[in-house]
Each structure stands twice: as C-alpha cells, then as structure tokens.
Symmetry: C2
Subunit: 225 residues, 2 copies
DNA sequence: CCCCAACTGACAGAAGCTGTCAGTTGGATA
DNA sequence: TATCCAACTGACAGCTTCTGTCAGTTGGGG
C-alpha cells in the first residue's frame, strides 16, 4: 500500500470525529506505532487539523474536511445559484457563510479555462422587511444541539404567549421563515413564524429525540402535495 | 520535496485546463521526464481525470477538481439550505445537480460525529406554475459558450416577436426567472421573462464580449437599491 | 514518411520509509 | 504525590520505493 493512500485512509478513519488511539490505527493499517506518529506529523504539516493529546488519543478538529470533490460545471452553477439566493433570503450568519463558502470554492476553481467572472446568475432582493433574522442563528444552534428555547411569541391573531419549545427544523416559504417545534405548553407540534418571535433564549436544558416528537413524526403527519 | 506534494503540484498546474507537455512539467518541478510519466500514471490510477494524448500533451478532463475544502458547520448549513432552495425553484437540470452535489458532500461528511440525518431546513414549494423551465438548460449553456439564441417571444403586453439575442445572465426574482441579453433587433439590452419564451434555439453562431454589450455594462446602467 | 510527444521496460543508485528500541512528556486518576 | 496512559522524540539499520538514464514503441498529424 502506498504511503499517500495510507494517509488518506487515516483521514477517512478519524473523520468520524471520535477519539482514536495510535495503537488502534497501527493495528488497523498494519504498520507500526512509530509509523503512525510519523504519519500524524506529516498530516499536521500538510494542514490537516488533527489534534493529538497525550494520554487521550487523536481527533479531528471541528471543521469538517471534504476530500477532493470533482464537480461538474452544472453542479458548480447550482452551487453559485444556491449561495446567491442564500445571500438574499437568509440571516447574516448564513449570508456570511455563503460568501466564505463561495470564496473557498472560487479560489481554487477560478483559474480554470474560461473561468467566468460572472456565473450568469443575478439574484435580486425578493424578500424584504423585518423577518426576525436576528433570532435565526440562535435557533439553528439550538436545532443542532437539541437545546430547548424559551419563546415570547405573538401569533398572527395577536395572541401573546410564552412557550418552551424543542426546535426541530426551520422552513423557508419564499416569504417568511418558520420554525417547527414541539411545544411543551401545548404538548403538540407547533409552527412559529420567526418574524413573530418577540424574544428567544436558550433555557440551558436539552431535549432528546423522542418517538412521536421528532421532525419525522411531524412530516409523516402532513400530506404534502 | 515529497512525492505526494509534487503530485498535488501537478494537479494544481494542469488545473488551468490548458495543454501541458511532460517536458515542461519536468523542468518546472525539477524531475526527469520519466518521473512525470510515472506521476501521471499514479494520478490516473487515483482517479484524477487527466488525459494524455501522444504528440499533444496533458489536459484535465472537464470536471473541475476541488482540493480538500474545510467547511465550517455553518457553511455546510448554508450549502444545504441553498441546494434545498435550488431543488425547489430551478429547472430539472439544476435540480439534479443540486442533488448530486449534496450527495457528494454528504457521502464524505455524513459519518462525522453527530451527523444530522436532517439538516434542520425544510423548503416548501413557493414558486409554482409554468415557468418556462424547459428553456433554462439551453440558455445556461448559451451563456457559458457565448452562443447566440433565436427567440420566439411574447411580451407581457401580448406583443409577439422574434429576436436574436446574446444571453448574458439569468436572474431569479422570487417569482419568475428572467434572462438579460443584448438584443440584435433592438440593438440594446433587453430582459426577457423566461416563462414568456415560446421557443428558443441555438443559431450556431457565437458572440464575443464587446464593450458596451456586456453584463457589466448593463449592471452599471442600473441603480440598484 | 517523418515528426512529435506520450508511453513502456529494465536497471542501478539514491532517497525515503519502516520497525525496533529506548527513552521523555503532559494530563488525568488514585 | 505517585502512577498510568498514550502521545511523542531520536537514532539506526534494513527494506521499499522512487528516480534518472537509456533504449526503445506507439498513435496522430502534417
């Protein structure tokens, strides 16, 4: 087995985010412990964000690593269109992310033959107004971490309420963003318009995926076209 | 210099899409011709789409290669949101591309710690109806290749006309797609609603970027908010 | 037919990789 | 405080791989 292939294998293995001992990697790849340490050194010097801690093991630092991808022109166009739209309809956090993502791709894809300066997509503001964007980063984080949120909400009918919700998913409807959640007060699924949220805070508690209270359960209860 | 680094360099060099002679690469990288041939073999066996033709040189086949990217969680979310929207508002070609792009990313990013099955975004159809999507792949191709198109068009006012246009850019307005082009008949920029295009064919002729007739010129003529 | 430049095979010397061994270090646990 | 763990480091010899040289072949274009 070529050394470079083994290095790729190591990345593949530790990419699961779990802890890995050099000992285990050595066994798995049929090389000596010393070789693993040398490989880790090589990887680190190539910019792979691998952390080794004495007495603990190896882990990949947060950023998710994508191996070399080969994208077709159309896929690149889809990417550009998607990021252009996200840059228009999403909150600042996602806008920034769409920009940095594009710049990472562009940096490496730009010096190809006939690289277009312009990707042939123009996106003009088609969602305007106060959309409650300020709450979206917190809500997204809560969805990721399964954190409960305390909402101060005013329904479309004008009714005011306070809820503790388990945020499951955000939806984009072309005009408004909503958040589907399990509501502890109503003990049922509820969909909240994000622009109607007055305030929104993490409670500090987590929730756990519970059958009957997961986004899949909500989806199956719907009959979409 | 490590061999694996040199292989990366070779990819970097030929990624410009131009023709490269093994001789030149050898000079540039300070190795012998034979070594370049061996490297090319290694690259090909690793799946890099490099084409060598006797008497001609080396070139990278179409698909654009992205080197390993490191994306933050938020960037991955932006990507998922963008592709979800593209999957709703674009034509079949782009829809498919958004799907394959996501699957390529998912395949490699999915087995990370706490990989979400669901990315917390729901996108519901917010653009419906007959939008002239069937013309969009052709238009996009024409923009890429700078091909003139012959249109059969019905304006919103109901006026029927035939045009030869230089397609420059497509725009998405949240409800409709348009194409901005230089119109040979009017000798001016025109914006066409794609859902009002009755038919659309390549003329077989190309146009060349001409000052005053490029998308940048059109953009500077606008005063966007 | 010739030219070009990609390709192939063989071989020996150089370079890099690997395992073994014998350590050290920093953090967590007892 | 001592002990354990597993990451780390340095040295060295043997092995593997890479590399340049040389002497060819092959396929396409003029």
């Amino acid at each position: 087995m070529r050394r470079s292939d083994r290095l790729a294998d190591i990345i593949e293995i530790i990419k699961d985010g779990r802890l890995h001992l050099a000992r285990d990697l050595a066994d798995q790849l049929n090389v000596s412990l010393r070789t693993i340490y040398r490989d880790m050194d090589t990887l680190a010097s190539s910019g792979v964000p691998v952390d080794g801690e004495r007495g603990v093991g190896y882990m990949l630092r947060e950023p998710v690593f994508l191996p070399p991808l080969s994208l077709s022109l159309t896929e690149l166009e889809a990417l550009h269109l998607g990021m252009a739209i996200v840059g228009q309809v999403a909150d600042d956090e996602l806008k920034t992310a769409s920009g940095t993502l594009l710049s990472k791709v562009a940096e490496t894809a730009s010096n190809r033959r006939n690289a277009p300066k312009n990707w042939g997509f123009g996106i003009y503001p088609f969602v305007q107004g106060r959309l409650g964007f300020q709450h979206m980063p917190l809500i997204r984080q809560a969805i990721r971490e399964r954190s409960k949120l305390r909402l101060d909400y005013t329904s479309l009918a004008g009714r005011h309420s306070q809820r503790v919700i388990w945020p499951l998913q955000t939806e984009y409807w072309g005009q408004v963003w909503t958040c589907t959640a399990w509501c502890e007060q109503r003990d049922a699924f509820r969909v909240f318009r994000i622009d109607r949220i007055n305030s929104c805070h993490a409670t500090g508690y987590r929730f756990v995926d519970t059958p009957g209270k997961m986004i899949e359960d909500y989806m199956t209860g719907l009959n979409l076209a």
